[in-house]
Symmetry: C2
Subunit: 246 residues, 2 copies
């Protein structure tokens, strides 16, 4: 596969533009690209071009955009993943996987049984790291869209501020009898859906009740207990399979 480079300022064929410091460093040191090498350039909002390295020196690099190119297609349904922040670096993989599964937006949150607190996340540079991971995952999976990664929030905010017509909270097998196929198989694919996945310790009953009161539907993923870090991937795969949404 031709190397893919993220350039949010890319606008039109014929343009020559400088890459950001991060992108230039990655293209030069990791991908070892040189002047004249072919690349694909994407703008993070869905457009992509064939291109070539136009100049490279001392950590700087510019690309010349050629004809428009076709990136990997986006899903029909617009998926927002509301993801509980997990222990250690496990959220990194959740974001990487969600981007690869085609989500439009990720909303990281902390909830009652989270192992971390919002203030600690806000002091650190987690949000910036998650955004870099989203760019890297878009490059690898072939998308020209870099999903929005929101700053971390409290689950109550996510519950209150979720405008999508279908809102699902993924729960433990014991907490509901309704699985994704049963809950969604008979429903036409919506325009947009928000999926909320909880932390390692699961949801409190109060959180599930609050989500229910706000119009969210509790669904389970199979009859077995899944690892928290895999729930988003399984939920997205199940929705896309049920709705034949590639």
């Amino acid at each position: 596969m031709t190397a893919r480079v993220f350039a949010p300022d890319a606008e039109a064929s014929g343009q020559v533009l400088a890459l950001s410091r991060d992108e230039a460093a990655h293209a030069g040191r990791v991908l070892r690209l040189r002047v004249g090498d072919p690349v694909r350039v994407f703008d993070g909002r869905g457009r992509e071009w064939t291109a070539a390295i136009a100049a490279a020196s001392a950590g700087r690099m510019s690309v010349a955009l050629g004809p428009a190119a076709m990136p990997a297609p986006e899903t029909r349904v617009r998926y927002t993943l509301a993801a509980a922040v997990l222990k250690g670096d496990a959220t990194d993989d959740v974001i990487r996987d969600a981007v690869m599964m085609g989500v439009a937006r990720v909303r990281p949150f902390v909830s009652a049984r989270a192992e971390t607190r919002l203030a600690a996340l806000q002091r650190g540079s987690r949000h910036e790291r998650w955004q870099r991971i989203a760019v890297a995952s878009a490059k690898q999976c072939g998308r020209a869209v870099v999903p929005a990664i929101d700053p971390p929030a409290e689950f109550a905010q996510v519950v209150a501020d979720a405008p999508d017509p279908v809102r699902l909270v993924l729960v433990e097998p014991a907490q509901t009898a309704g699985g994704v196929p049963a809950a969604l198989g008979a429903v036409a694919a919506p325009e947009a859906v928000t999926l909320a996945v909880g932390p390692e310790g699961g949801w409190t009953d109060e959180e599930i009740r609050a989500a229910g009161a706000a119009g969210w539907t509790a669904v389970r993923l199979g009859a077995r207990t899944l690892r928290a870090s895999t729930m988003a991937l399984v939920a997205l795969a199940a929705c896309q399979a049920v709705w034949a949404d590639e």
Copy 2:
């Protein structure tokens, strides 16, 4: 959740039996169980009992089986996962996830673009480690069945010796137009299916042709490129969603 203990020799309510050295050590040192503590005991073949620790001393432990209990249900379809061995320890997670998704059997294999060779795997203790991971994952996800983990093989052997009526090889988006919903949505759930997922570098054209000649169907998982370590999880989730098989 009550702690779950694996005892392949468990047979009937009323029985008192010694745990294996590994299980006794886990129950004593990690779970800190003591005489009289309630546990669930499962035999790895689908039966489970409520039980209690009957004796514990010097690294030994025995359990007294009470009434039969209900483990997490098994899937209707019998899933065999043929999984390319991945770099480093990534296969550990693939096996952990596959067990949690309810597979009946895992067949690890090496193929043309694998980063490791069969002889190297056979010299090491990978197969034993994978079997221990399968036990640990069964405990965590609530299954009373411990899936069979085969010794590593060559992909050619897997292609030649796969008796299931539905045999799918999961390929890169560019290698076929047929996704899981398109390929399987109109098909009634089979009794058994084998899913083959490839290594980081993907399949060679020759491997896909050989699988096709042996009656396997090439399907893709969405239109984006997935990480090799997530393909099994996404494929199993997609099949279970399409067949409403929890």
